[in-house]
């Protein structure tokens, strides 16, 4: 998994490639935790994400809960496989996907 960070003012875009699983999730969690306090808009670009495990979903959940009180969070370019995971886990109900 690789993470590309793009910070514009208070909006952070994280472009993630590869698998987000229990091995790679801690790195993503740290990136997100470090950034959360100073931004008002968080965008996850999932164009190149091939898989997300429950450990990855947990990070989205944490970020979503934090951003609910700080501004907005979006997950963009979600492919079909990942979308199915979001649907199965009910994450489509809480995430802003677009």
């Amino acid at each position: 998994m690789t993470i590309e960070k793009a910070l514009a003012d208070k909006a952070l875009t994280l472009k993630i490639s590869g698998r987000i699983d229990s091995k790679t999730a801690p790195e993503l969690e740290k990136t997100v935790q470090d950034a959360l306090d100073s931004i008002t808009c968080l965008v996850f670009d999932f164009d190149d994400v091939v898989y997300i495990s429950s450990a990855g979903l947990r990070i989205l959940l944490i970020a979503q809960k934090k951003m609910n009180s700080r501004g907005e969070m979006k997950v963009i370019n979600v492919n079909n496989d990942i979308m199915e995971i979001f649907e199965v886990t009910g994450f489509t109900d809480i995430l802003t996907i677009g």
């Binding site: 229990s22 495990s53 429950s54 450990a55 979903l57 947990r58 959940l61 944490i62 979503q64 809960k65 649907e87 199965v88 886990t89 009910g90 994450f91 109900d93 809480i94």
Partner: protein, 581 residues
Amino acid sequence: MNKDTNEKSRSGKKQLSISRKALITTLMSCIIFGLVSQIIALAFYGVSLTNQYIDFATSVALQAQQSAVKGTDAAGLSNDVMEIYRSLSDEERQKTGTAGYRALYSDLTKEKGGSYDVLWHMLKGVLSFNNIYDVYIAMYDRDTEAIVYIVDPLVDGDSDMMPGDWEHADSREINTFMNGYVDDLPRYFSWTKQYGLLCTVAIPIRNEARDFCSFLFVDVSAKEIIYSMLRFSLQYTLALLIVTLLIAWLGTRRIRRTLVAPINRIAKAAQEYVKDRQEHSDNKDHFASLNIRTGDELENLSLAMADMERELMEYEDHLTTITAEKERIGTELMLATKIQAAMLPHSFPPFPDRNEFDIYATMEPAREVGGDFYDFFLIDEDHLGLVMADVSGKGIPAALFMMISKTILQSCAMLGRSSAEILSKTNEAICSKNQADMFVTVWFGILEISTGIVTAANAGHEYPAVCRADGSFELMKDKHGLVIGGMDGINYKEYQIQLFEGDKIFVYTDGITEATDRDEVLFGTDRMLEALNSEPAASPEQILKNVRDAVRVFVKESEQFDDMTMMCIEYKGNSEKRRSE
């Protein structure tokens, strides 16, 4: 014991070897140095000695020549002899040395107090008082290639030379002689059978008109030079031998003291270190107590060994602690595995007196403990609660969260509410204490045993697979709510499945569908359905076995990455109801 002796003999050999090497090196260098220096010294010595002899011969020759020229008519005598010599025929000359031949010159020799007599006595005196081989006057004759003796005082048996006696001297010898004369007084070395190596110096004798009349020769035997040089060599070699042995002895002793002894001490310390470790002795300062102060690499070595000893000791202590800790954790984990397994219903059939349904379930954690769980329990006589759940993450955190989730879920279920209500209540309870932001996906169903109606709700869990009697398993895309523990205040939707006799429901966790092979390919729902439908009519236990086998074949030697949990229930119908119908 045997090994110990081997080591000792090995180290003994090493000690000999270093000393011997040093000894050989010292001896070799001393000998080479000695030989080279001896050659150089001999050369200098020889040259200087030769020069000394030549100088000596020259000074004797000069003195004799002066006496001969000033005190007698050497030139005249020479000319007289040569005159007679040249007047003779070859035949007559061949008789040289004979009385007849010598009689030809008797006019010149017979006169007492004549030139010859005076010269002979004068030269005889010179010969007696100096350490020379011979002093004589002679002249060469180019035409006949001969040296013609004028006066020779040497009385030496047969080789006495009288005036006019001659010896053959080829032109080469004469040339050599004359060439030597170009820059300086003529001198040359010659090897004669009779006299050995001779050094000859010649001084010309001229008449008043400065013509060459003859030469005054002085022969010095080079024997002396050779003997001197041999003597010098012998003495030098002896001295060299003594010095070499002394240096070798001192050098070896020094190497033994500064090199071999410390190495042996280090080796001994190493042996004792190993021995003590084998015997579990507490002596910890084998290398630290060596105290080698050679100020060179050996001291560094001993210090490095002491460091190593200390590091090893610390590492070992550390390792012992870690091992103990690991063992403790291992024991605890083993217990945890047992506790967790015991938490899940694990004796089948679970309700031997209920024949309306057949149920089978398995849970295989990827590690000692897992986050997956299944559960089933009778809420009342007619209602069977069914749970399949998957906690995010793995290992101990997941296991702890699983225990809580399972307990809360069952407690809520026992209150007799609907499936959706139970999930909502459980979510609320878990969200209120969820510090670690973990969550659990749950499929929860309540089977009304009398009617076969399953009322289910899905909190972010995999789609269940449903199989109608005589049909095949198909995924049922049911309504999904958010995972439990994700967010507060979620309402779940419930749905119903009507089961008839022989119908089955299969629920599972993503450990099955996301099992990966070596090339990171997922097992997937298609392969799972294929495995389910290989024997759709089989018992729940066999169906679970089929799926597990298919996964095993698929992943081959790849490590199990996630917990794998499955549950299958077959509805056998309400026998009482059927009877009453």
